[in-house]
Assembly symmetry: C2
């Protein structure tokens, strides 16, 4: 099995396509910031059997790790530059596993035009533990925050909701197997192009990682506004639509990594063209008003309440 230096030489160095990485031979990366732009920095960690399944394909583990970080960049309206990786690896991971892990990174690097900038690899007696720090940039002063939502804005979400949570159930055999849903759990699609397009349009932006209700509440708290969301308008995929628990998954399931944002109601008519250009559903699910808190209405206009087991009528 590769030691630290062989691992860097044989597995990671081929990923160091950016000159800022200095070929991974130095103590740190040296990045010349793109002129006129702010840098956006985020860091997410994942632990085997907590955030992914230990027997998941290694390339998909790598890509999920990278993509959850890129989703945070998308949630600021940023374009990705590169990333640093820390890998605490267990003794049972052989060189083939490590190469397949790197293959996953290489695939996403090529797709997204980014490169590894540095990192660290250590041994651990515990579960495989990974973290990535992703770096991106936005035009100076144009990062999209959670705090800009205003009364009168509409609440919009991209893609479909609940698929990842249902996908995990599908992988665990708790519901019928669905390749579509399992893939949505294993391979997030960071909505980078949408994030960029929302600069100058969205008033607040976040990615749906904890679940729609939790993440929308983050926006409401940061912005000091109240929201009313209609459950019937939540976008559900064809695979999810008829499953028991689809609504609960859409409301509270995490890991969808769609973008949730607010825009002035007067500009809602721009969404159709944007959706068409990006080939990505953009669905208005509610509106904002002065106040605090979140109300979710059912088809009859009655508020739903959350309890320990999911969403129920009052």
């Amino acid at each position: 099995v590769y030691g630290e230096f062989d691992f860097i030489d044989k597995v990671l160095k081929p990923l160091a396509t950016d000159t800022a990485a200095l070929g991974l031979v130095d103590d740190a990366a040296v990045l010349t910031p793109p002129p006129g732009r702010d840098l956006v920095l985020t860091k997410d960690a994942m632990v085997a059997s907590v955030h992914f399944l230990a027997d998941d394909p290694p390339d998909l583990i790598a890509r999920k790790l990278l993509r959850v970080n890129l989703s945070d960049l998308a949630a600021m309206g940023a374009e990705p530059i590169g990333y640093l990786l820390a890998l605490a690896r267990t003794r049972d991971l052989d060189d083939a596993w490590l190469h397949r892990f790197a293959d996953g990174l290489a695939q996403d690097q090529a797709e997204l035009g980014i490169g590894i900038l540095g990192g660290d690899t250590v041994g651990t007696p515990g579960p495989l533990t990974l973290s990535i720090t992703a770096i991106g940039s936005v035009p100076r002063g144009q990062a999209l925050l959670r705090s800009g939502a205003r009364p009168g804005d509409v609440v919009v979400v991209s893609g479909t909701l609940g698929d990842a949570a249902l996908g995990l159930k599908s992988i665990r055999g708790e519901i019928a197997a669905s390749a579509f849903l399992a893939d949505r759990y294993r391979l997030p699609r960071p909505r980078l192009a949408l994030g960029v397009a929302l600069r100058g349009l969205a008033t607040a932006l976040i990615d749906v990682s904890d679940g729609l209700v939790a993440d929308l509440r983050h926006v409401l708290e940061a912005s000091g506004v109240e929201a009313e969301v209609e459950a019937a308008r939540l976008p559900l995929s064809e695979a999810a639509r008829d499953l028991e628990g689809a609504l609960a998954a859409a409301l509270s399931g995490g890991d969808d990594y769609e973008l949730l944002f607010t825009i002035p109601a007067a500009r809602a008519d721009e969404l159709a063209a944007l959706s068409s250009r990006l080939d990505l559903p953009l669905t208005c699910i509610g509106t904002l008003r002065e106040g605090t808190g979140l109300t979710v209405l059912d088809r009859e206009g009655h508020p739903l309440a959350v309890d320990g087991g999911g969403w129920t009528h009052f």
Copy 2:
């Protein structure tokens, strides 16, 4: 015990003194790069009972983690800006432990004028696993690399060598207890001021984390030069000097986090004033010539060889 959001609110937010952190309420940090400078990025991970002792004081664990990263910045000649933290925590860590961990970070933040910019906290069934990504800056194009050493340069090291490795032995009871040596293991001193002072003077720079021989070899390989080092000139602390194994620790013990650098021989006379200004020993330990490899000479001018058990005469 704090959940993720309480941990961020109560433990980490007070550390978010830099406006770039956005109070840790958003998806990522937004950093306006200092004009005319390059950014320097590094990431190091540590695992309990691999890189530190699980019952080490939590504030010292935090400071060691931060400082090994800052040492990488020092090794590029960079000044620190801030850092992101990922913490995979075990169930046995109570809130008091977390606050003491944060106290350690707060202490170093105040000392160094930096702040936390973001990060992630997750649970783990395995050992406590930590990583930090540190961000610093250098004037554009002035980062000091490992690759600039030239024949005729002299090899210089800061501080004293071997103390950390002997300190670990002292903590483990393998040698007599020494508070000085134990402290040198637990609390690295990143040589940031020296790194800055070496811009425009050093031809190559690295920090001593793997051990003098290993790290000097990194410089020799990156620069394509050969070095001859005199063992008698290695700087040993008073606490280490008379201990058995002091020379081996100085040559091969890691974790000293001193700076190892090369400068043109013609400028070696500048070292005394620099040492005096920084109140830090700077010791010439050898010279570079054309060729490859490293020779370590004993007092009689005979080369030493390394075997499995340490350094021996040929």
